[in-house]
Point group: C3
Chain length 189, copies 3
């Protein structure tokens, strides 16, 4: 009978819809690895050397016991803890108008090679962006690119999560470095 | 025919249910900006000054190289890193019975104004709450209110995420401050 | 009529499917407290004492003002900040081949008992695992087990969230300790 077939078709259709939506719900979120928001910034770090207090944007605030000139600290600055307040710009020019600040700390945590651990925020307070993005993670900075976690956000970036890909754009001895930060958010509210 | 209409109605109804649930699943979560849990606490910080070791709840453990009395540290304590273990109370009275502890660190990270970066936990072990809430984020503490991220939780706060709104409730020079912390969780398990 | 009953059955069935999937979607994720990924590792921490720079994997880089031998620091090392780069192994043998590194910091943040706050990453770069897992949280280390948060991940652990249960597997004075870390991820992509 035609009517029975019609009902059966509906049955199959609805079952499919039901299953697919249940599956999606089980997964908790659609897992497309495509950012819902993407931001690229540069940040500029000028380390305090005792003489440049006006221009410096960062300073060492901790070093291994027995001083940071011990064998332990070595060439890779193991243990040095640096606090920073670095300008963020849209291009790689230190003198561009900052669109925000990168504020927080990094510490060198490997003896044989430069590797850091980062905890910091991008802080925005302009017409374009208001709020903050919070980052944490390991930065093996001799690699061309490396990923850290976006662990949260506030304001325009309310509850954000994602990945930031770091690239050292410039590195001038122990005086200045510039990071390119490609922030890809995968959870946006 | 009546029966056909009935079937058609079902079809439309199910289609709607199917679509709405699929949409919800696509979005990954219903994005109502209404906390699933909300907690308001005060926390009390008494800075160690070399003489108050019994009452102090926090101490400076790092400061910029060349001492924290350099031009660099200035008036806004740039670079000072403070570790704390502060009591949490339900009201703004320092002498109320603590319901938990706020444990972690803050560091001052701006040269021209007081701004801090926070990494800490609320730790509970009472009949009312067991577990911890973990926080990270920038605290531009001269603003009336500012938001940081709840990046995770354990125990009663298993896998929590959210926002904590901080308000300085009291600030007595460099001796004592009290924060009101309005913790709003938007992801609860 | 038989046909009517059939239609009614379909109606009820679809309604149930619809409701259950909608509910799941509303909740945002199926809240089964069963990890989607689980990893158990040991990590080994050898503290620098001024003489063991070759073997040491960690060093104190900050201590309360007025030195860490003040009344404030006391027996529980309040305020001491330690940076580490510890090998991770699959069993509890310090000399097993490391499968990765645990890199970051801990700080002692309680005056009367050993309690720490941790910020670190597991960093993997082997055929088995590539990427990092980022951790933050309070570690009341005199408890047999304690939980911290997995706040994010990269590479193989892209966007991970979860809980890590820590257990002190060995503790040799102030020279060496070994942690068993049972990492349970509840959000996997």
């Amino acid at each position: 009978m035609e009517l029975k077939n019609l009902i059966l078709s509906f049955f199959l259709l609805f079952l499919l819809v039901g299953i697919s939506s249940t599956t999606a719900a089980s997964a908790g979120k659609i897992k497309v690895r495509r950012p819902c928001k993407r931001l690229i910034f540069y940040f500029h770090d000028i380390l305090y050397n005792g003489k440049n207090s006006k221009n410096a944007t960062s300073a060492i605030v901790g070093a291994p016991a027995w001083g940071n000139r011990t064998i332990m600290a070595g060439q890779s600055h193991f243990g040095d803890l640096v606090v920073f307040d670095d300008p963020i710009t849209l291009d790689n020019n230190l003198h561009s108008t900052p669109v925000g600040r990168a504020q927080g700390f990094y510490l060198y945590d490997q003896k044989d090679i430069f590797t850091a651990w980062l905890g910091f925020s991008f802080v925005f307070n302009s017409t374009q962006h208001k709020g903050s993005i919070n980052f944490a993670g390991a930065d093996p900075l001799m690699n061309k690119t490396r990923d850290i976690s976006v662990v949260g956000g506030t304001g325009d970036f309310f509850m954000a999560r994602g990945i930031a890909t770091l690239m050292t754009d410039a590195f001038e001895g122990e005086v200045y470095f510039r990071l390119r930060v490609d922030t890809k958010l995968y959870e946006c509210w």
